[in-house]
């Protein structure tokens, strides 16, 4: 297979970037998208040109490191799945493929297709944790968790923190990410001590990072590689309202 690639090239945050055309030839249909980029990079290096910078790590859809917008869709055309799980057989032979970075103000571009997503880490640092007792391990069955709550917490915990929700959102809102992190701990007994302060701090941190506001378009859940449901955003809204009222009441 052969493809015409239009890839966003930008030397550093200060320079202006643009789409640059590359030809990818002799591509096996069973090559993954990232492997195809590797092959194009081999060619660029052989010609003495600067290879295309892009993020990847596990390449099996569980780490959340890859962050490509392929033909206008975060993580490309295969939903649910990360960009590393897209295979070239998904595209028509001879097709033009546009590759851009995840775009949102809180994701400053570092180089080419690599963006800095530590804004998401700062949201988690604001409250996405539980305080644990030091000392000997507690008895495993001492804390009861209803099956339904465990399932819901697990669904939310599936979030890999890739940032595709914010990248795909028409408003660059990170509500789905924050909702998943807040919901995950709100469903579990271990998350109860910080439940009120957590949601208040995490929403404040999210707003401070400069993400946009959710307008309920549900574009986030459509591209989420972990299939986090947008109903967790409703859960976040509930949690936030209740926490605000409890604070107001002096609790």
């Amino acid at each position: 297979m052969r493809f015409k690639l239009k890839v966003w090239r930008q030397k550093n945050p200060k320079t202006k970037g643009k789409l640059v055309e590359y030809q990818a030839t002799n591509v096996s249909p069973n090559t993954s998208f990232l492997e195809m980029l590797d092959v194009v990079n081999e060619g660029l290096i052989a010609k003495g040109e600067e290879p295309i910078a892009f993020d990847s790590d596990c390449r099996e859809g569980i780490c959340g490191t890859c962050s490509l917008t392929i033909n206008g869709e975060a993580h490309g055309p295969d939903h649910p799945g990360a960009a590393c799980e897209v295979y070239m057989r998904r595209f028509k032979d001879g097709a033009t493929i546009i590759v851009e970075p995840f775009r949102a103000k809180p994701f400053p571009l570092i180089k080419d297709l690599v963006v800095d997503r530590s804004a998401l880490d700062r949201i988690v640092q604001a409250g996405g944790f539980v305080a644990a007792r030091a000392g000997s391990a507690p008895e495993a069955n001492a804390t009861l968790v209803p099956k339904q709550d465990a399932d819901r917490a697990m669904e939310a915990a599936a979030c890999i923190g890739c940032g595709a929700c914010a990248a795909a959102c028409p408003n660059a809102s990170a509500m789905l990410f924050t909702a998943a992190k807040v919901s995950h701990l709100a469903f579990l007994p271990q998350g109860q001590p910080e439940r009120t302060s957590r949601v208040l701090k995490m929403v404040t941190a999210m707003d401070a990072e400069g993400f946009g506001n959710c307008t309920n378009t549900y574009e986030c859940e459509a591209v989420c590689p972990a299939q986090i449901s947008a109903s967790y955003i409703a859960k976040l809204n509930r949690e936030y309202a209740v926490a605000s009222f409890r604070r107001k009441a002096g609790e």
Partner: protein, 231 residues
Amino acid sequence: MTASSSFFRSSVGKKFIVAITGVVLIGFVVGHLLGNLQIFLGQDWVNSYAEHLRQLGPVLWIIRAFLLLNVLLHIFYTISLALENRRARPVSYKRKEHVKATFASRSMALSGLIVLAFILYHLAHFTARVTDPRFLLLKADPLNRYDVYSMMVYGFQNYFVSGFYVLGMFLLALHLSHGTSSFFQSLGLNDKKLTPRLATGGRIFAWLIFIGYSSIPVAVLLHLVKPAQQL
């Protein structure tokens, strides 16, 4: 900073205001439609309904002030949220596809602002009655009430006026097809099973509103409803 003021300054809190004011305005849209549909029941129904509203006196002004407050809050917060959203993506995509986001959900600001323009015209047309000189020629009905029935019929006999009304209602329906289910999500009154049902229900509701309101100018233009008096 108190907890309540920080609530209404947060992204979640601002959306609460948009959602609650939206619910009030949806309530008005339904009530107003039920009032207007009385035109199909004849002159006496509409005119006595209008007379009852007028007899509310100061209460009517309290209701109007309350609605105006809701409109202003709804617009102020949506515009400020929309401006923040634009700032959140300074460099836009060269190509952007929408997998799930509907056209209605992505054009709320545009549909809302056109509906606002429509409302201003509508108030000038039928409430202040400054756009149609023929309304001055209307005589009181047999029970000496203002003849709202004939005013509506004469008002809609113009194709351009009726066309703008239908267009306004189309954009209102587009706005409500997203807004009606959206407020459940913003207020957290939603879960995974309910979301698709609310989305479908919201769309059906919105287009019923469109059919209801549009039926009046269409019926007038088709001469199914005729004026009760000659000018």
